[in-house]
Symmetry: C2
Subunit: 220 residues, 2 copies
């Protein structure tokens, strides 16, 4: 029985498209490719560092993979552009429906939290800027585990910090690998399939699926 | 002091392009995208399953990610096409210089081995088919560790099985993440940068770099 709804942040509550637009302004005609490589490498580096047993953080990885992404299209990254694009990550825009859905769930009495691979600092900066911090009962970073999602020990941050059991959690993410990780940790899971992509074949299917967060209204 | 040269297999000794050609025949105009998604997802699923603590193997992952890749371009995979493309993975072509470089190193007296995330069965099938099995002193699969590269424990298969120290190994791979993993495990490493891509920024640089395997002639 769901009592707590826990949201992933990047791509789930916030649209990372605004960073792509900034990439495009700085690197005309290459913004889309840069931001795509950036995101892919950002994920891959989290996984690789975790597998190699390194203790590194999301902001460090985000900065290094930006360099890689810019280099991958044959461009160089100036210090000024680096600062601008990294700052863009702190000023992402909310998806249209995010505020409405959080308010709806709050009124229905659910406990609400976010849980992200982002650092605690990055998350609090972003959430304060956006104005939804007040709607959340908890802001949880993998910093508390010292391990990135989708390791089992990372998701235990949620149950440990909120003092609840895994079955009480409905985890919401637009990332298929994050849904698999949440199911692997014993949570219920709703996949926000914004791009209408195929389901991952990791053997851990979501309990629910919708094209945006309003699907939660029909679930809860 | 290098005494043993250990090669990654897929993309390092063997060209995976031939599978792309088969994809193109079955799915005209979509072969390139399918094979690219297939390879990316194959890597990602190895990392994800390892992070989630699952015991799965390369052949199972290769088959599931083929389904995902075909679905990702809006196509369905028939049983016949599935069998054909999976069989293609057992009949990859060697890069032009592979045979020559292996013979050269053998004559120079180096111990030669392969070490791959592929299963022992897949590796032996592929190597027998290609005719280079006889040039190798050892065929090593991560099966022996129960963990995929780039975990530290996976690379220990090499030193354990060959009864050598990490410093005696020159590890050769076209995959940047594999180079980082090898360096992380204490090996010397030569990166075969076939696509002239940017270096990974994982904090673990290769000792050597070349555009194909012939660079080993100038190193050893």
């Amino acid at each position: 029985m769901t009592q707590t709804v826990v949201f992933d942040v990047y791509g789930t509550l916030f649209d990372v498209q605004s960073v792509q637009n900034q990439c495009e302004i700085i690197f005309p005609d290459k913004g889309s490719e840069i931001s795509q490589v950036w995101r892919e490498k950002q994920l891959q580096y989290m996984f690789l560092h975790e597998l190699m047993g390194h203790d590194v953080q999301f902001d460090d990885i985000t900065e290094r993979t930006l360099t890689y992404a810019v280099n991958s299209v044959g461009e160089d990254l100036t210090e000024k552009s680096r600062r601008k694009l990294m700052a863009g990550y702190q000023q992402l825009t909310l998806y249209d429906e995010t505020q409405f859905v959080l308010s709806y769930l709050r009124e229905k009495g659910y406990q609400l939290a976010v849980f992200s691979n982002g650092t605690d600092n990055m998350l609090r900066g972003l959430l304060n800027e956006s104005g939804i911090h007040g709607d959340l009962d908890a802001v949880l970073s993998v910093d508390l585990a010292g391990h990135f999602k989708p390791t089992v020990s990372s998701y235990q941050v949620v149950t440990d910090q909120l003092n609840i059991s895994a079955e009480e959690v409905l985890f919401v993410s637009s990332n298929g690998w994050d849904i698999a990780g949440a199911k692997n940790a014993g949570f219920q899971a709703a996949w926000i399939n914004r791009s209408n992509g195929p389901e991952e074949v990791l053997g851990l299917s979501p309990d629910y699926e919708g094209e945006n967060l309003t699907v939660l209204k029909s679930i809860l």
